[in-house]
Structures are given as C-alpha cells and as structure tokens.
Symmetry: C2
Subunit: 338 residues, 2 copies
C-alpha cells in the first residue's frame, strides 16, 4: 500500500512478475481494495494471493510513531509474514524510513551485524555501482564500514552477478592517508581485511563510481545519502536543461525528435525502474524498498531482485562472512528498535 501509485502500480507490477515468477506472490493490504484491483486485470494470476491489512500510516508522522499507532499497517503485516515463516521476502514502495523501522523491529538483526544498512545502485558505463550505506546510519564507527563492505560485496556477487566485486572507500583523494579522521580510520579497518572477505581497492572518489572502476562503495549513511541525493538532483537538472534547450528553437526541436531513440537509450541506463529497488541489508529477512514513484516494471524487477536474494542465500552468506572475522565480538550490540 506504499508508494505514489499504490495500490494500482504494485498490483500491476505483481501481475507482471507473476508471468515469469514461480514464487507465490502475496499482496498485503485491504482485502476489498486489492480484490477489486485483481478483478480489474484481464486475467487473475494463479500465483497471487491477498493478505488483509490496513493502508499505510499517514506520512506526516515519524516512522516510529506512525507504526506504533497502526499495528495492522500493510508494511508491518507483510514483514510479520517473514517472521512467521509464511513469506521469504518483502517488497515495498513505501518510505524507506518506515521500511527500516518495520525491518529492524520485526525481523531484528542478523547475527554479527551491528548496523543494518541501505544499499543504493548507481549506473556506470558497464553496469551498476552499489553504494552502502545511503542513510540508515548517519553516525558510524569505522568498523561499521567493514560490515557494509561484507554485505555489499555479497549482494553484488549474488544478486548483481559481479564475480569479484572491487570494494572502495568514499574519500576525497585516492592516496592512502587522505581524508578526515573517520575515513582514515575506516581505511585502516578495511585495508587489514583478508582478501578472501572482499577485494578492497582503497580510497575512491566520485569519478570511480560513475566510470565503473569500482563495484561496491562504502561510506557512512550521511555521506552516502549526500551522494545519492546530489546525483539524483544533478541528473534531473541536466535532463531538464536539455529538454528546455532542445525545445527552445525549431531546428533543435527537429534534431531532438530525430535523436529520440538515442535519448531513450540514455534514459534507460539511468532509470531506476530497470533495477527495481534498494535492499535493506543486515536484517533477518529479505527486504527491498522501491522508489516511491515506482511503476509496474520497477515493482516486478524488485520482486525478481528479492527472489535472487532468497535463492542465492544472501543473508546466510552474510552471517557466515561476518562470523569468519568475528566482528560480532568487537562491535557493541545495538538495540534492534533503537
């Protein structure tokens, strides 16, 4: 029931996914609303069922308060399906903040994880660069970035099909010793990691993200959120500027019309709908959050992404990788509902 075009876009995305998916897909929300949405489809998919729940909480409250008031909110009911063992994964186009609260409160953390993290995908010339964390942890200790690297590395291998992800640390210069106190300390932690855990390639800058010289980028959630928001805003501004100038005179307008296919190819490369959603990693269950304005294609891709997380055992691998290092013992525990 979350997202700008819910429940219609979510139901249509589920229908789209159901055509090639062998999973059982459970729509979670008000029974009557979802029944009539399903009835409106050309054919009701046989592998889609409904689990009754109330709509999303009002958006003007803090996530914690909103969820406290509405115990049967669709996101809580859906997340409980994982906890009960009825479902393997949740896909939501609701707010990331609410998703994070639901995931942490109900699913709790994976053994060895001190901080769950949100991983975003940014396009590069040959594929995607995973940036982790992009907002769940605004104040981090250097050791948390080790966890992010382990989790991001496993997600990149298992879900993005990158055989040997190159893991970099966001910094303001590539040489060792560059950066602020935090990034220098994080570099030390990452550099002493066994190459078997992940391939740490050192400090990286913005151009590494967009030139494709790195596959996984770790940073605290404040910096990651700034990277994500700045990138979204600049891309939007550049395309708006192009649109304005390409329609400002008749010749350019004609030229733009002829180049339409090229522009479509460009937009496809930068379109978040192509890859689905961002995972919340570190919680005991698969949880994918889609962009609020997701259409059916993004929802379907997020379902496939969730399926890959489950079938490739991303969470089991994360627990095993962290246990190898014994991270759990060196990091103070964090209350699951903090």
């Amino acid at each position: 029931m979350g997202g700008d075009y819910a429940p219609r876009a979510v139901v249509l995305g589920t229908e789209l996914a159901s055509k090639t998916s062998s999973s059982e897909l459970i729509l979670v929300g008000p029974q009557d609303v979802l029944e009539s949405e399903l009835a409106a489809l050309a054919q009701r998919p046989s592998n889609v069922t409904i689990k009754n729940a109330s709509g999303i909480p009002p958006a003007h409250e803090s996530p914690v308060l909103a969820l406290r008031k509405r115990k049967d909110a669709s996101i809580l009911v859906a997340t409980r399906l994982i906890k009960e063992g009825t479902a393997d994964a949740v896909v939501s186009a609701g707010s990331t903040g609410i998703g994070m609260v639901a995931a942490r409160t109900i699913l709790r953390l994976l053994p060895g994880v001190a901080r769950p993290a949100i991983a975003a995908l940014l396009p590069n010339p040959t594929g995607m660069c995973l940036v982790i964390d992009v907002g769940a942890n605004v104040d981090c200790r250097p050791q948390h970035l080790y966890e992010f690297a382990v989790m991001g590395n496993i997600f990149a291998r298992q879900v993005l099909n990158i055989p040997s992800p190159r893991v970099g640390l966001v910094n303001i210069g590539e040489e060792e010793g560059k950066g602020n106190q935090f990034s220098r300390a994080a570099f030390e932690v990452l550099a002493e990691t066994n190459k078997a855990a992940f391939d740490f390639v050192g400090n990286i800058e913005g151009r590494d993200i967009y030139e494709g010289t790195v596959d996984v980028v770790v940073c605290d959630g404040f910096v990651g959120n700034v990277i994500l928001k700045t990138s979204e805003a600049l891309a939007t501004a550049v395309f708006a500027l192009l649109r304005r100038e390409l329609t400002a005179d008749p010749v350019s307008k004609l030229g733009a019309a002829l180049s339409k296919k090229a522009f479509k190819r460009v937009l496809k490369r930068v379109d978040y709908e192509e890859y689905g959603g961002v995972p919340i990693l570190g919680v005991d269950g698969v949880f994918i959050v889609c962009h609020g304005s997701s259409g059916p294609k993004a929802i379907a891709n997020a379902v496939f992404e969730a399926e890959r997380c489950v079938s490739h055992e991303v969470n089991r691998r994360i627990v095993a990788a962290l246990a190898d290092r014994g991270t759990a013992s060196v990091l103070a525990p964090v209350a699951a509902d903090a």
Copy 2:
C-alpha cells in the same frame, strides 16, 4: 606556472583580461619563458608585466614539502607580492592544495577566522550556488560552519551579485532535527544567528543546490568535496553517455547535428570556464584558484572575479561581519601553517 596548459593558457587569458581590465596584471614565472610567450602575441599588452620566479614544484610531493624545497616557486613569489603590498590578488591554475598552503603560510588568516575555506560554484537554472567548504577542512567543528556561512554570504553578495543570498546547511532531510550529530549541532549554531549576518534557510539537500532554491550551501570540507567530485563525475558521465548514444546510429547522429546549438547552450551553463575559479576565503588577501585544465577564458574570468573581490572589499567585510559576532573569541586559534 600552474595548470595543465601553463604558461600558454595563463598568458593568453591574461591578454584576454588585459583588454577590458584597468588593473596591472603581473605574470609570475621564469622571465625568459614568459618573455617569449608575450613576444608571440599579436600585440604585447601595455598593462602586463613579468615577475621572475621558478616553475611549479613537482606534483608527486605533498604541497608542504614541495613548497619547502622551492622557495622561489611562482605560486610563492606571486603570493608574496600580496604580502608586500605590490599586488592585490593572486590567480592560479595550479593545485588547490599548493595554493592553500601558499595562502595560509604567507598571507595568514583574517582576524576572526579560525579556518580558511574553499568555495566552489555549481550551476543552477538561474545562476550559481556557492558550496563552502569543498576540501580545506575535512574535520570541522559546528562553529566553523558559521564562519563559512559569513564568508560565503559576503562573496555571493559582492561577487556573484546576489542581493540577499539564502544560506542553507547540507543535510539528509529538510526538517529540523534531521542529520548526524555534526549537522544537528551545526544547525543549532546557524539557526541562532542574527538575520542581519545572513539569511539561514535551514537544512537543504542536493535538489536545492541544482534547483536554485538556495544560494550558499555550507558543509564540512569532506562532504563538500564529495558533492563537488560526485557532481563533476556524474555530469561528465551523462555527457559521455549522450555522446555515445547520439553517435550510435545515423538518424540520431543527424538529429544531434541539428541540435548542436542547443547542446552548446547546455554546455555553456555547466562550463566552469564561464565563471573563472574558486576563491580561498578567510586568508588576508584575494586568492582565486582556477581549474587545472583552465583555458584562456577561465583565466580571464578569474582575473575579473579577483578584481571584484578587491573592489567590493570582500575581506574587509568578512572581518567586520565576524567581529560583530565575536567569533574570534569563541574559536580556538589555529596555527597558520598547520
């Protein structure tokens, strides 16, 4: 002598500036090299002179070490011209790090300034957004952002001709109380500022920078550098992708040729050559650092920018504004050559 195309581009830029400038322009570098560059011009400008100095230090050393070895490096000689009262401003296309060391070591800090800062200009639909700091101070205290706001506000008013700059704090949400420990503390400091000092509009995000809803953006130098580098890298990547796709098939290629003027207008908006260079603010002298790949136009625009800093008394205004608040007394002194 600094920059990818020095000394040729610097000499040509100086020639360009000399045509409309009433300033005396002093080229600083090896006398013989600069003489032959000037001799190669169609007409030797009457308001351009030469001050002998050696070339730039090798780039593979740290700025401090490099400058220690080469006491007559052009950047040091040029900066000493300010200290001696022979010059009012320095324009350099050399490394920002070396410029910062020269400025701090020779010029020292303005009274009331604890931390000098580098301010970058990012384009928005109607003009420019000033981001300060973008790398001089990677570890800040919240009070330093107050200084950055004062300095950025004065530069925006006096040099960018923005009558009432709106000053925002980089954060990961617009509501008060958002962010990490540092940004929440910085918000407190900025919010309690008298509106006469500057117009603090609160927390901002990436889209505010690129939509033009804010004129001056303050952040620590780590975050500012990440914003700058991410933006440069993404813009480069988007234009590279456009170029690739627009030449991938003959029809798109024809369309792109017809839209050439529109693309030129877009590039002009995002071209750093249009505005010159970035100021180092907080040191006792005007110091503008140009992009390393600056051509003559960027150099000339930086000269005009430096002239505006001098004629509009940017530094005198900064000292007066900081004295009003008495910032000097609440901030611990920082060694000028630290």
